[in-house]
């Protein structure tokens, strides 16, 4: 599916629209310096850039795990930035997130972690008694099959390997029936082979459910292999936005600085 073109050709309505996003953790030091970017309703976008350049901050502002200092983030027809309470939770339900360190609840079973994806739709009393709807339970088992972890349904999450945990993390995000999937360095803690599997899984699930996937990552080769569109950030600004093929050495030097690391 086509990614959003860089120039103003007729574009599909953006699923996510970031407008002038600014984030200062410390007054005066901008980690995000007025980011404006649109994301189409499909396709996998990889955000690359040096550590500390705000890639993770950008993603976390979308689901308000980090509070933006200025700017607007339009998702599902409304600005997410001023939301609070119930409307914020409703917006978060629509956004699935995958984390670098999986962030599974280790003492709970794999099934319970998956069903945690439905907590935005489940009352606390029912959640406590683990009385999720049959539909949720059936979907959970189906997703578990799809990611190849059916045998682990009742194992504690901390009994799984890193790659297995990340698959559970992705399944948990998909359980939300989200309209957007965010992934914050999902492969940084995984070996090369597992990283490829995880990227493939996210791309395939994104296509299957027709939702856009935005992934932060360090591995440029992996990004080129799986992304439909690459966004390069440096110093809190976007310095590249286009096709993976356009990532030549010159562009990479602009993004990361320095030459010796380039082959």
């Amino acid at each position: 599916m086509a990614a959003l073109p860089a120039s103003g050709a007729a574009a599909p309505a953006a699923a996510l629209s970031v407008r002038g996003l600014v984030k200062e953790y410390v007054r005066g030091k901008r980690v995000l310096d007025g980011i404006t970017i649109d994301f189409a309703p499909s396709g996998l976008t990889a955000v690359i850039g040096p550590s500390g350049t705000g890639k993770s901050t950008l993603l976390r502002c979308v689901n308000r795990l980090v509070e933006p200092t200025e700017g607007a983030i339009v998702f599902g027809g409304r600005d997410v930035v001023p939301l609070a309470g119930k409307s914020l939770r409703e917006a978060r339900r629509e956004i699935g997130m995958v984390f670098q360190e999986y962030n599974l609840v280790e003492r709970l079973t794999v099934m319970e972690n998956l069903l945690a994806g439905r907590l935005g739709y489940t009352a606390a009393f029912k959640a406590w008694l683990r009385r999720f709807t049959q539909e949720d339970i059936d979907r959970a088992y189906a997703l578990l099959d799809q990611v190849g972890l059916a045998a682990f349904a009742n194992q504690r999450a901390d009994a799984l390997s890193g790659g297995q945990r990340q698959r559970v993390g992705i399944a948990r995000a998909v359980m939300q029936r989200p309209r957007l999937l965010l992934a914050d360095e999902p492969t940084s803690s995984l070996d090369p082979k597992t990283s490829v599997e995880i990227m493939g899984l996210m791309r395939d699930l994104g296509r299957e459910h027709g939702i856009p996937v935005i992934v932060n990552m360090h591995d440029v080769e992996l990004a080129k292999r799986f992304a439909d569109r690459i966004v390069g950030m440096s110093g809190g600004k976007i310095v590249y936005d286009g096709e993976p093929a356009g990532l030549d050495d010159g562009v990479l030097k602009t993004i990361y600085g320095g030459e010796s690391w380039l082959a």
């Binding site: 689901n63 795990l65 939770r89 409703e90 917006a91 978060r92 339900r93 629509e94 956004i95 699935g96 997130m97 984390f99 360190e101 962030n103 599974l104 609840v105 280790e106 003492r107 709970l108 319970e112 945690a116 994806g117 439905r118 907590l119 935005g120 489940t122 606390a124 959640a127 406590w128 993390g169 948990r172 939300q176």
Partner: protein, 268 residues
């Protein structure tokens, strides 16, 4: 460093040495002030031997009183533990500074600090004055003790959890209660069970004491036997208390076995 100091592996800390010497001097001085003499010690040994002689053999002089007292102590301990655990859960949660705003943590921590300030017997005296003699006062006193203990440790356990797991649950759009249920409690449940069973054990021991000030249980029976110089009955009561505490140990171990995995002392 010159060659002299280089000879030693660890440099001498002269401040620490001075501190130890001062401490030793104070101990000797304090012992002198407390009328701690050798003659008293020897006389005491002799008295002690005669005292133990009167306790052996133990005689259950009043079986009804003994049975009632023991039963009441156990009831006080169990009820106080149950109520204390139920109250400690929300109080401990409110006191966790990594989850709660300041207007919740300050009052909760104040309540816990207050509950910990006094020995259970002193609290029992207050309750006896407030609600009268009997088991209700004892239960009240031990509930306060439980809140102080479990509440403080529970709050500290919550402050040590991984917030990454909590963040992930929050990102799904879960409500506050759901975040607590799925993100916080699973991480601290094991330790909570450990604290709860420890407090059950502690309450069992304390329940034998609150009776001395009239708050119910075997303590009252023990104290009146003592005042009547019925030392052989005192011995019987003491032995039965030991038996009760051991039963309580077994109970606590069983509870831990049910909630935690086999062979674990705590869920680490």
């Amino acid at each position: 460093m010159n060659t002299a100091t280089r000879r030693l592996a660890v440099q001498p800390n002269w401040w620490a040495r001075a501190g130890w010497i001062l401490l030793a001097a104070y101990v000797v001085y304090a012992l002198g002030r407390l009328d701690f003499s050798w003659e008293r010690f020897v006389t005491g040994l002799d008295n002690g031997a005669r005292f133990i002689g009167r306790m052996i053999p133990p005689v259950i002089a009043q079986p009804d009183s003994l049975g009632k007292g023991l039963l009441e102590s156990m009831e006080i301990a169990l009820l106080a533990s149950f109520l204390g655990i139920v109250i400690s859960l929300p109080v401990g949660l409110l006191a966790a500074r990594n989850l709660m705003p300041v207007w919740a943590t300050w009052p909760a921590r104040a309540v816990i600090a207050l509950a910990r300030s006094f020995h259970p017997v002193i609290v029992a005296i207050i309750f006896v004055k407030a609600v009268g003699f009997g088991a209700l006062a004892g239960i009240g006193a031990l509930v306060v003790a439980s809140i102080g203990f479990i509440g403080k440790l529970f709050a500290e356990a919550i402050e040590e959890i991984s917030l990454k797991q909590v963040e992930a649950v929050r990102a799904t759009g879960a409500s506050f209660m759901n975040v607590i249920l799925f993100g916080v409690l699973p991480q601290v449940f094991g330790r909570f069970i450990g604290f709860a069973t420890y407090q059950l054990d502690s309450n069992l021991r304390n329940s034998t004491m609150v009776g001395i000030v009239g708050a119910g249980g075997i303590g009252g029976t023990l104290f009146s036997a003592f005042q009547r110089f019925d030392y052989d009955f005192v011995a019987a009561i003491l032995l039965s208390i030991i038996a009760m505490i051991m039963v309580g140990e077994v109970l606590a171990t069983w509870v831990r076995g049910v909630f935690l995995e086999k062979g674990k002392v705590s869920d680490e």
